[in-house]
Symmetry: C2
Subunit: 267 residues, 2 copies
């Protein structure tokens, strides 16, 4: 790996990194941005997505050698001073480690489900539009061994820069796919033998009393409105019991509790 | 309650609301800012802190009548157009509901502990410097019935605007106090009969096997370094078991799992 020194922020070789924040909103034609050492490490070691290049602050390069050894030998690694890097990104990059990844062709929900093992736990997200929550849910899914995340089309993109960062790279590790028709997707899971649970304050079963099944799907909805009634009617409703005076829980916190619960080893 | 119309952003009656974001950094002389309907409701109904005034977008006033009825009759309620409110706050206030509260004299950790009931669960935070995490931990503490939060002096302020917002007002409801000397504080808890548990990846007991005790303290440290060894040596270490390939959990997520676990009703 021969680092390529970049002195001109307008150098076409780093054009993909120009104005990072504005591009977040406009999209970036099949690419995503990975930030920071831990996330770069996951991008290169998980192997789920192809890395296209890296852009690193000159004084961070030495500390990255071991991680960059996991990259293909021909991965361009651009190196810049702090001033040049800030001018490229359009704001102060205090972490000093960026990489560009390729989204590739999205896998269909059906293909993803068909690739799962006999014992599997999948997380199903409906209407999660906040990138912090999306990233946190992926992080929890990875920490507690979920096999996949399935997202309805109203969810935000797990490969948005902030979602990847908050996920500490889990969004680059855990397979995910989108589905358009929720009723059709529920039927698809049922045909594959998944027991389907929904976290909802109106759920009949306290989650403490819920048992892990061989194949299970855990549905999480938005904080405000929650999962739609039409969907809840078709799933096992499960609640997390809270204080009477303050029954408000962030959806990512709820995912942590539920995924931890179901990650218990059989005794 | 007679709303007071504000047409001039420089009106001295709303001086406390000027340049909200800059004041967040500079501090605001014993005041804090509550944002949004739910937080205003908690400020007025919890009664832990005195409200000094409210500043509301004119078209939000009608929807707040019921909540404002909980306020003292002499609470000044300022009303402004969107343009005036944005000019006062210094950025676009899309929620359109602000209130100023008084921090009052801080309660000592000792006085707070002495006021607790015989059965009590307290959360002890060491080095939590991120306002998102602080707010989320308070929210979880409220959701699962913790009685108090104790903070070492390296923690950030739970009454910082963003921490209050993320806590959905829990920071205005759950009593909290700071302590300077961690060893002295640990001894203070021990004298009052608290069993003291620390969440740590190196903890010997899986949290699933930990029992709630009559009086218990749950210590949480920073994500990076965790709790200091000198402290861990004096506490019962408890771990949250994670996947082998991804043992990374946000401290707020850890608090959700632990507080949910210990909020279980005795069977």
């Amino acid at each position: 790996m021969d680092p390529i020194r970049i002195d001109d922020p307008q150098d076409p070789r780093v054009a993909a990194y120009l104005d990072i924040r504005e591009r977040d909103l406009a999209g970036r034609q099949g690419r995503f941005v990975a930030e920071g050492k831990v996330v770069l490490d996951l991008l290169l070691s998980a192997g789920r997505f192809a890395a296209e290049s890296a852009l690193v602050l000159e004084n961070r390069l030495a500390g990255l050698e071991e991680i960059l050894r996991k990259a293909p030998a021909d991965l361009p690694v651009y190196v810049a001073t702090s001033a040049v890097m800030d001018a490229i990104a359009g704001f102060h990059m205090h972490r000093g480690i960026l990489a560009m990844g390729r989204k590739g062709a999205p896998q269909s929900a059906e293909a993803l489900l068909d690739a799962l093992p006999a014992q599997a736990l999948v997380v199903v997200l409906v209407g999660i539009a906040n990138h912090d929550n999306m990233g946190s849910i992926f992080r929890n899914a990875a920490a507690f061994g979920a096999d996949a995340v399935l997202l309805d089309v109203t969810c935000c993109d797990p490969l948005y820069r902030k979602a990847i960062r908050v996920s500490v790279g889990a969004a680059l590790k855990i397979p995910f796919a989108s589905f358009a028709d929720t009723a059709g997707f529920t039927a698809m899971l049922a045909r594959r033998g998944f027991e389907q649970f929904a976290l909802s304050p109106r759920g009949r079963t306290d989650i403490r009393d819920a048992q892990r099944s061989e194949r299970m799907a855990l549905y999480l909805g938005t904080e405000g409105e929650g999962l739609p009634d039409s969907l809840l009617a078709r799933l096992h409703g499960m609640r997390i019991t809270m204080s009477e005076g303050f029954d408000s829980l962030n959806v990512a916190a709820a995912s942590a509790i539920a995924l931890h619960h179901f990650s218990a080893k059989e005794s």
